[in-house]
Symmetry: C2
Subunit: 551 residues, 2 copies
């Protein structure tokens, strides 16, 4: 920051050190320009489009989509054959394809007569469970959209419903993030009033429309060629998208309005795809264990696991399921946004320039950044590595206190460990891990480990009984398992028992999109999974306190 600006406000003096203020660091929300200024936004503060979290499992199943599309050739009406347009179409489906349809969606009917007559009577009709949901010119390919609606990111997949092939994939930021980075702040906003809830709903629907438009543009189509959509997301995102009440999600016992799977007309949630198309939402499990968790369990196939299996989807909220002999129990842990780089001094999202791997050899720090760019900050996996390396090197003790080291500076709560100093970073500011950062990570990892331990206790199992650990989610894809084990976030188990599967929720959404059996399986998972409320467990606080210790 250079140029005439307002004097530092109290909030800035509290948030920033004297040195930072001296170096020109200011809070954008507190500073007024008094003339022409020059300011520099730190890379870690930019909401740059981060690494798209669209990769992951791509398990193939035989396709059996709910929507099938048939080419029909109709005879034009005449005085001798004045059949109505609806019966003319349905009779053609019956005679030309043996397909019985019991009805035609009203929005399809509203377009039917001009559609049939322009330019000729050769059309395709898309039928879903006996209902005609679209009539269109012959295009040859039926498209479906699978969406993983995350609190931070939204991943969309455009899928060929016949082949099951993913034609295009894209990740965008959830625009609701402007109103709070976690589900609790979004719920709090929705509770302020009808307009606020409607705003969040519109933002979610708008983002889905944007994804549909962009993905279709990649294959030279319009979004009206999407005949079915499957959406998964955590329970809050699910409810906010559908316009469901969230007050009861905010307070114990955190009850969702909807647990079961839903089929809703896309128009009823403001999604502009084929006129009569549906959105299918996989079932939720509980207020903080949503359809994305069910999708993850579906995609990883753990419901059928013969081995004792632990499946985690790590995020701002981490859902964990323990499976033993068909018994499935899930918990939700408030792990917070630290692993997404938030509330960490030099934390940033997993965008270009983020340190994603880090090693400490004596006094020397080596690291790897996303895109090989100069280091701008630390993303989740980099932070995890840093804590693990500091702990293994003895710079951090089990309580998480930073000891004296040639790379530390400051004292007590102000102490920090410099990972990249000013000289290394092309004149950029230093990148450090602060004592406060360590505390944030301790809380985050303790939340996860508490969930694991209480699940094991409920089953009467020791950690060593776990034969398979499946780690899903954006952060889970890139984290170094050894680091996670080193700090005690995950139990000490042989490395080969761990499997990192990427965006399994998105994969589950795609499976449910192309396969009716997979959709039925997801319903079954939704019914079978038991939910364990951690906060109600009498061992919760003692387990959590112990889990904050490193190692």
């Amino acid at each position: 920051m250079a140029g005439p600006v307002s004097a530092p406000a109290d909030a800035e003096r509290a948030a920033l050190s004297a040195q930072e203020l001296a170096e020109g660091y200011r809070l954008a929300c507190q500073t007024y320009a008094r003339g022409d200024c020059k300011l520099r936004v730190l890379p870690e503060s930019l909401t740059a489009l981060q690494r798209a979290q669209v990769e992951g499992l791509a398990p193939m199943v035989p396709t059996e989509p709910l929507v099938s599309t048939y080419q029909v050739t109709l005879a034009p009406p005449s005085i001798a054959d004045p059949r109505s347009d609806d019966l003319r179409l349905q009779e053609a489906l019956r005679l030309q394809h043996g397909v019985e349809s019991h009805g035609i969606d009203i929005e399809v009917l509203r377009r039917l007569s001009p559609q049939l007559r322009t330019p000729d009577w050769q059309k395709q009709a898309s039928v879903r469970a006996g209902e005609v949901i679209a009539v269109s010119p012959w295009r040859g390919r039926s498209l479906g959209l699978a969406v993983d609606l995350g609190t931070t990111k939204i991943a969309g997949y455009l899928v060929d419903l016949q082949s099951g092939q993913t034609l295009a994939a894209r990740g965008i930021m959830n625009p609701q993030i402007a109103y709070g980075e976690d589900v609790v702040s979004r719920i709090a906003l929705a509770l302020k009033g009808i307009a606020e809830a409607a705003r969040l709903r519109e933002l979610a629907a708008g983002a889905l429309n944007q994804l549909a438009d962009e993905l279709c543009a990649e294959v030279d189509r319009g979004p009206e060629t999407i005949f079915e959509t499957v959406v998964v997301g955590n329970t809050a995102m699910h409810h906010l998208l559908l316009g469901l009440p969230v007050a009861q999600l905010a307070f114990a016992p955190y009850v969702p309005v909807v647990r079961q799977a839903l089929d809703i007309k896309a128009r009823d949630i403001g999604l502009r795809i084929a006129p009569g198309a549906y959105v299918h939402l996989l079932p939720n499990i509980a207020g903080f264990v949503g359809a994305d968790h069910v999708a993850m369990l579906l995609a990883t196939g753990v419901a059928q696991a013969a081995d004792v299996t632990l499946a985690l989807d790590i995020g701002t909220n981490t859902e964990i399921c323990l499976i033993q002999s068909g018994k499935m129990t899930s918990v939700s842990c408030a792990s917070g946004p630290a692993f997404e780089g938030a509330h960490i001094r030099h934390g940033m999202r997993a965008a270009s320039g983020a340190i994603e791997r880090l090693q400490l050899d004596g006094d020397r720090v080596t690291y790897q950044t996303i895109g090989g760019r100069p280091p701008a900050g630390l993303c989740g996996s980099g932070i995890l590595d840093a804590i693990a390396q500091l702990y293994l090197a003895g710079v951090l003790d089990r309580r998480g206190t930073l000891r004296e080291h040639p790379r530390t500076r400051g004292h007590g709560a102000r102490r920090e460990f410099v990972l990249v100093d000013e000289a290394e970073g092309d004149g950029r500011p230093a990148i450090a891990i602060t004592q406060h950062d360590v505390r944030e990570i301790q809380l985050a990892k303790a939340a996860i480990r508490t969930g694991v331990d209480l699940l094991l206790a409920r089953y009467g199992l020791a950690a060593t009984a776990i034969e398979q650990v499946i780690i899903a989610g954006a952060f889970g894809t890139y984290l170094d398992v050894s680091s996670a084990v080193a700090i005690g976030m995950l139990p000490q188990l042989p490395r080969e028992r761990f499997r990192q599967v990427g965006n399994a929720a998105g994969a589950g959404a795609r499976l449910a999109l192309v396969s009716q059996s997979q959709r039925a399986e997801a319903r079954l998972i939704g019914e079978r999974v038991n939910y364990l409320e951690l906060a109600a467990d009498p061992q919760f606080s003692s387990t959590f306190t112990q889990a904050t210790w490193l190692g």
Copy 2:
């Protein structure tokens, strides 16, 4: 008209006689006020609320409504029982009533959580074909709405779905009438553009909402307590209400978009009743034989008739069905609005003061008016009586020419027969039948008779083979059958073969509302009825020409 106004325009000189102009008659659409004026609107020009056409058949059937309502008592959620609201409700339905529901409408879900919690957990749930379409405080009675959506009038019936009892009935004018009195002018308007079609659709939906509000107010309810609606109407009214395209209705071969019965969410047509409620529309037969005709056939039970039966619903458009041994064929006749008093010099709707019965004894005319009020004009049945009496008295010859008579005045095409002279009418103007009026009635009755005769010809039957004639509709309720037979509108048959059944379409809508079997029967009727296109019959014009003759 008194006071300074513009000079008579050409249009007025063409439409009004010199005498009428001298008496101060003017056309409101052509005259400008030049200062303070006093004007008198003739009673026959007022669109006064006419006799409500809500009476008619009220056949009782065992009720078996599609929507059933169940009282449930739910346990409030707790940490020990954090079931979602949807499953909590559905499990209560299962355990307390043995009712399996497969889903809950999205609009019900959007209100569910506050609804369940306010003020307590005692609610009623309305279930339709396994779908929960409403959750509300316990009210004890389930309401349904049956609507006969006519071109001119809309009749609404609020029905108790359990008892089948009609709790309130009401008739209102179709507000679309401001845009044209017949279906052709409405279709022409809808074809002008999207805004015009939307306007007609909004007017129809608005009228239905008004009816729902007013009927519910009569029983101290709100319209959200209506759990199902059945609408019948002619094909054009049906299409305009649903927002379906009508271009193909306007030109041969006059193809409807929809022939089959429809179940549409009420919200998808802008009807504000229970949040998840449906509107059911009975099937149409053809472009000019609509769901109201099917409803009439349902209510009169003629589909099962053992006798050769002719069933007519007389209106601006007259639909006629001939039934023999289960074979049903229907035609549509453009009978025009003459029997509704339009295009008749002193014609008026069947409102207070309209002459509805009339007899001629030599020079003496006796008559009966609606409500016993001083005569203001002639409604349909009065006009029919007048023509029949003039024909029987020999004042009209078979060609329809008015002969000289002490009560005639004027010559040639300007000749008129004075029914009520100025002296009789409390100083009101005379009421007469003009030569032009006779021509209008000849065309109207010829249209109907042509339909009857061509149907008979198609079946190879003589008119005398008809064992039963059922006359439905507003005009059909009040017409004097002898008059209709006298002028040759209906075949010469013994009086006891005729049955006047009132608003049978409204009765059919009520049957389909309260009984699933009746609804299924209506579907069957819709599929069984053959349509005969009169205009395509080679005998049409010769038959029509002959049918214009009186007697």
